[in-house]
């Protein structure tokens, strides 16, 4: 249950923060949620990771679908030298997930070290 609560909170807080703050506010969001919702470090990591994987993966997918992947085709060729919008979405999701996961891990350790 805590896992899903922190996953959802991380995703929501990240989304809200990114409306006003730079992209790396996802790290702050994941860190904060992990520090507030007590979980084992690995589970915190996984919650943060999954939250942003779904959020960034989902957002890029829905944006790109509405765009009929016009831009994703071009940018994937430019960035990863392969015409693959889905790979680009995966890369997006993974980068967000990794940052959030690691930030959540730190948050979790912070809680533990204070406890």
């Amino acid at each position: 249950m805590k896992f899903f609560v922190s996953l959802l909170l991380t995703a929501l807080l990240s989304f809200a923060a990114c409306l006003y703050l730079p992209w790396w506010s996802i790290a702050l969001a994941a860190f904060l949620v992990a520090a507030l919702v007590p979980q084992k470090p690995f589970r915190s990591f996984l919650a943060g990771f999954t939250a942003l994987f779904l959020l960034w993966g989902g957002l890029s997918f829905f944006i790109s679908r509405a765009n009929e992947h016009i831009l994703a085709h071009k940018i994937s060729l430019l960035l990863i030298k392969s015409d693959s919008p889905y790979l680009l979405m995966l890369a997006t999701a993974f980068i967000g997930a990794l940052v959030a996961g690691l930030a959540a891990l730190s948050g979790s350790y912070l809680r533990k070290s204070r406890a």
Partner: protein
């Protein structure tokens, strides 16, 4: 202790965030910061515009005087209805920025010699060249001139405010994707930037000269050979203003300095160790036919300016409707008004005049400090302009450019010991006298044309055009047609400015400008049409002033030949003419080539290609193999004829113009240069033609093996993204045409806007450009016109009326009010 893993994981997280927040060199290229760039709420995903994007908006902006409504049609062309004229320019600026900001800014950075700020050290040579040419100096003079004209100043101020109103709305996520890729942010727009953009057009259109290259050639060839290699008149020329026209009485009498024949025109001493410069071949077609030749009885005007093809396009289509005028056409993102188009009374278009208005003078400085220069027997004080060129990722470069006063004009010493650019390396001091440095107010022309109601208005408008000089075509609903070879042209004596000139006294300076009433024009000529295709404007055996040597000949011949024949013309006929792929030069040569090829000497492959050529109809259509055969054949032939003669000429020497060799062999089968000077025997035309064909055969076989024998595959026309990013470009377009065709579509250069306007009661208008209305590579409107353009098809241009606001073509409405 959990403090260790805490610190460790926090450090890793911070490190990762830092890494993803900075840009890195990957495979030699700068990659954008991945975190920023990939974030779906900040990065490039935000530029992936929904294909059914909503363009409706209601904007309140205190700068506006009244209300303006903008209706976007299904091609994303805005139809702007403004209660106040200057509000229309404000909104135009806003729309240009909304759809084309990155391109607008890039062009002005390039014009002002600031490209290094964006792309780093590799742009430094470009930046130095542009600053040394005095691009900023010229723009500042133009700005000063513009500010003296209250109407144009108000127009520009409104435009600039509009651009800036949009820039102010930008957030990290709404920045154009190129800013995100390269990693910088837009600056505020200014009237100076508009002037810089216009000077960029002058650079593109009125910086055409070969003075260094001709000087080198002159230093090597005998006077007799030189005149054979660079004749000043082509027999086949069909000038813009027909032969036999009587010109206005001469009022300016340019006189060659005493001794010019020996010390200048035939001076074999001065040579420039040249490096050579890239070819520049901006051309265009325009014509107008009077009602006597059309089916409807109304005049038809056509224009297709040939320029570098890029994405986003140089052009942005727009309708501007105000209480004072209603105009439709293409505009320059970066400047207010409609540039080529039509209004409720008339239509107008341009081709480049292409005359030489940029000359170089060799300056004698007292010493390398460049503090004093010799002029009219006295040491004069130099002025310096010190430029600090900022460079991304490196220390700024400080360049000091000397300005010397030649007569009344302060001219930059563009080339000196520290800078030879791509053209020279002899460390001489060359000042540049460029017409684009002179005060002029180009925006007034377009303002007046947009308002023009008749021939008198047109004439009053275009006579403001000084540089870049253009052949301005005009047609009016009252039946008038006209063309004017407009510009403020230096009145030159024969040969003046063909070479670098001595700059130590007044003798070689320009002695005045051709008076405006001596500028050749045609108004409702007997033949029922006017036309231009960058050919020499007049037959200079009867015109009083020297016009230079190098003008393209063949498109003009093709157009005039067809226009003479045609009657009962419809707009569809005109579209067919604009997209005509007949190569008249190839047509003139075909009988000669077939008569001189010795078929018996060819192998099987050669015979096959010769058969293709024999069957060829001299049309460079997509799918034509004959075009490719001829192109390779001619290329090999030209090399065989001239390479031996130029082997010892200074590097970078001018090569003969295309028409020179064509005319020479058509008229003289014993043309001197056919002989290879390195062999004991004397080669004949047949020898060269046959040898060239054999050389071409090998290349053609290779091309055929690659599947590139078809003309369009061989030519591989492309439209490059302005940053040369291949995935954002359109490559290998299936389109015919070529250098000498009316459809002058080359590799990355060609008809940048095709327009046909029939001035019937209700104007019938057609147009297309190779791009799309949106500059955003993530928009479906980014390149939406390209396929239509490549197919030679047009769109109907809709001059919308206020009554048509509910038309089903409208996909969005923006309102602007205070």
């Amino acid at each position: 202790m959990r403090i260790v893993p805490l610190l460790a994981s926090a450090a890793v997280t911070t490190g990762l965030v830092y890494y993803l927040n900075t840009s890195h060199k990957i495979g030699g290229n700068n990659a954008p910061p991945f975190g920023t760039f990939l974030s779906p709420q900040h990065g490039f995903w935000q530029n992936a515009e929904p294909v059914n994007a909503d363009y409706n908006a209601d904007l309140k902006l205190p700068q506006l005087k009244g209300k303006t409504e903008v209706y976007f049609d299904d091609r994303l062309v805005p139809h702007v209805f403004a209660e106040q004229e200057n509000d229309a320019y404000f909104v135009q600026g806003y729309l240009h920025a909304k759809f084309r900001l990155w391109q607008m800014e890039l062009q002005t950075f390039a014009a002002g010699g600031r490209a290094s700020e964006i792309i780093g050290e590799k742009a430094l040579e470009h930046d130095r060249e542009f600053r040394r040419l005095g691009m900023v100096y010229a723009a500042e003079i133009a700005l000063n001139e513009l500010e003296k004209d209250p109407v144009i100043k108000a127009q520009c101020d409104a435009y600039t405010e509009g651009v800036n109103a949009y820039i102010e709305t930008l957030t990290e996520s709404s920045l154009p994707v190129e800013y995100k890729l390269i990693g910088y942010k837009p600056e505020k727009w200014s009237n100076l930037k508009t002037c810089l953009f216009l000077k960029y057009m002058s650079y593109d259109l009125a910086a055409r000269e070969d003075d260094m290259e001709m000087t080198s050639a002159r230093s090597y060839f005998s006077a007799d050979d030189f005149s054979k290699l660079y004749p000043s008149l082509q027999d086949s020329l069909d000038p813009i203003i027909p032969k036999g026209t009587v010109f206005e009485k001469q009022k300016v009498f340019p006189v060659a300095p005493p001794g010019a024949d020996s010390v200048y025109l035939n001076n074999k001493v001065a040579s420039i160790a040249g490096i050579g410069k890239p070819d520049r071949d901006n051309g265009s077609n325009n014509w107008a036919v009077s009602g006597s030749k059309t089916k409807s009885g109304a005049p038809i005007l056509c224009n297709d300016p040939h320029l570098g093809l890029n994405l986003p396009s140089l052009w942005y289509e727009i309708q501007l409707s105000t209480p004072n005028f209603n105009a439709y056409g293409v505009s320059f993102p970066g400047a207010p008004g409609v540039i080529i188009g039509f209004n409720d009374s008339c239509a107008f278009g341009f081709t480049n005049g292409g005359r030489d208005v940029r000359d170089y003078y060799e300056i004698k400085f007292k010493d390398d400090s460049r503090q004093e220069y010799m002029f009219n027997g006295q040491w004069q004080k130099t002025k310096f302009r010190v430029d600090t060129i900022k460079i991304k990722g490196a220390a700024s470069f400080i360049d000091s450019v000397a300005y010397v006063q030649l007569g009344n004009d302060w001219c930059p010493v563009m080339f000196d010991k520290s800078f030879g650019g791509v053209r020279i390396n002899n460390h001489a001091y060359y000042a540049v006298r460029w017409k684009a440095h002179d005060p002029s107010n180009e925006l007034r022309i377009f303002n007046m044309l947009d308002h023009a109601k008749n021939y008198a208005d047109y004439q009053a408008a275009v006579t403001n055009l000084h540089t870049p000089g253009q052949n301005c075509v005009f047609a009016c609903k009252n039946g008038d047609i006209a063309i004017r070879t407009q510009g403020e042209w230096p009145a030159k004596w024969k040969g003046q400015g063909d070479f670098v000139m001595p700059g130590t006294d007044t003798a070689y300076l320009w002695q005045g400008m051709i008076p405006q009433d001596e500028v050749p024009f045609q108004y409702n000529p007997e033949r029922g049409f006017v036309s231009s295709a960058n050919q020499k404007p007049v037959d200079d055996s009867t015109y009083h002033y020297y016009l230079g040597r190098d003008y393209p000949v063949y498109r003009g011949i093709a157009i005039n030949r067809r226009l003479r024949e045609m009657n009962g013309i419809t707009p569809q006929d005109m579209m067919a003419l604009q997209t005509d792929n007949l190569d008249v030069c190839a047509q003139m040569l075909q009988p000669l080539f077939l008569a001189n090829i010795r078929e018996a000497e060819l192998d099987a492959a050669g015979k096959k290609y010769l058969d293709i050529y024999r069957q060829w109809n001299c049309r460079n259509d997509a799918g034509s193999k004959g075009s490719t055969v001829f192109e390779r054949w001619w290329h090999a032939f030209e090399g065989l004829v001239y390479d031996d003669d130029y082997a010892k000429a200074p590097k970078g020497s001018m090569r003969p113009f295309l028409s020179t060799l064509v005319e020479a062999i058509l008229k003289d089968s014993a043309y001197k240069f056919l002989d290879n000077v390195n062999t004991p025997q004397t080669e004949t035309l047949a020898d060269d033609i046959t040898a060239a064909f054999k050389a071409a055969t090998a290349e053609l076989q290779k091309l055929e093996a690659e599947g590139r024998l078809d003309w369009e595959k061989y030519k591989a026309t492309r439209i490059n993204h302005l940053a040369k990013l291949a995935p954002l470009s359109r490559l290998n377009l299936p389109i015919g045409g070529g250098n000498n065709c009316i459809n002058a579509t080359k590799v990355d250069h060609g008809p940048s806007w095709r327009m046909v306007i029939s001035l019937t009661q209700k104007t019938e208008a057609y147009g297309v450009y190779p791009g799309g209305q949106s500059g955003n590579p993530g928009s479906k409107f980014y390149d939406s016109f390209v396929d239509q353009w490549a197919a030679g098809k047009y769109y109907t241009l809709w001059m919308m009326t206020k009554e048509e606001v509910n038309d089903k073509r409208i996909i969005g409405k923006m309102t602007f009010s205070n």
